[in-house]
Amino acid sequence: MAELYPHKSGLGLMEPIALINHNVCVIYGNTKHYGKVTYLEPLPPFQALNIGAIAAQTVSARTAAPNLDLYDNEFGQFRWYPLDNAQIKLFLPNVDGRYTLRRIQVPVEPNIVDRDPDLHMTEFFEWEDNHPSFEAINFSDYALNACRIVCLGYRFVIAPASKAEITAIESGTPCVFLVASGFVGLT
């Protein structure tokens, strides 16, 4: 099996999390979706969302990104960066914050393209049409005319696994496990 794993952080651009015929398990909430990849295609960098104008020193409304929706039995692997000067928080889906610590939720800024040029640490996975939402903090003393999010990544189609295949995976057959939702920590 190829050396593919989530948030792969060696030098280099983005790689798909799995290839055709690889087993995957997409964990969404408490549900595990097992399957075998039957199709994948790249998604070049594109503007997935424009949150819109934001007044100075204001937090935007949490804004859904339905442009990232996928069909049934599909998942997406995305990396992203903001174009405009704001701190952006990711929620996946709308209520579950990503990149969360006990005290803060880590935002992503445009300077991510300097600090993490391959955007490894922004990577997230989306199951079907459970799209993420973004919330922007315009910390500056000036208004933003737009708040645009650029995404890139891969689209995967999977064939759901049979019970026997799931049993085999749980017994050790190679499989890539990935998480497609946030996790609220335990107190």
Binding site: Q57, N85, Q87, I104, V106, P110, N111, I137, F139, D141
Partner: protein, 124 residues
Amino acid sequence: MSLTALMKGRRVQGDVVNLAVAAAANAVAIFQISNYAQLVGTKSVKLRRIWLRNNAGGGDWVHIGTGIPCVDAIPALWSVNNMDGQWNEWEVEGVEFFVDITAYALALPGGGSIDIQVEIEEIG
């Protein structure tokens, strides 16, 4: 030298600000640092470019620093009567500011004013 000297930040331009009243006590903010409570982390800025337009009716010194009254952060710049004055980043010391940048014109001899705009590099 701090590590931030090696860091690449985002370039942001301030508004065009009119220095209409002379003296340090009448300094005005030419770039405001965010103090927004929702900001994660602390931002600072480095001065990178300065543009002046003298409508003062005479040459004058322009001071850039912090606070009101303004305390100089770089040497005063001479603004020639009825001329533009531009300083690029290889001519401007990259002084790092953690509070608002303020400026004032020293005398405004002809009773006019001086426009100023700065470009900063945002760190943090």
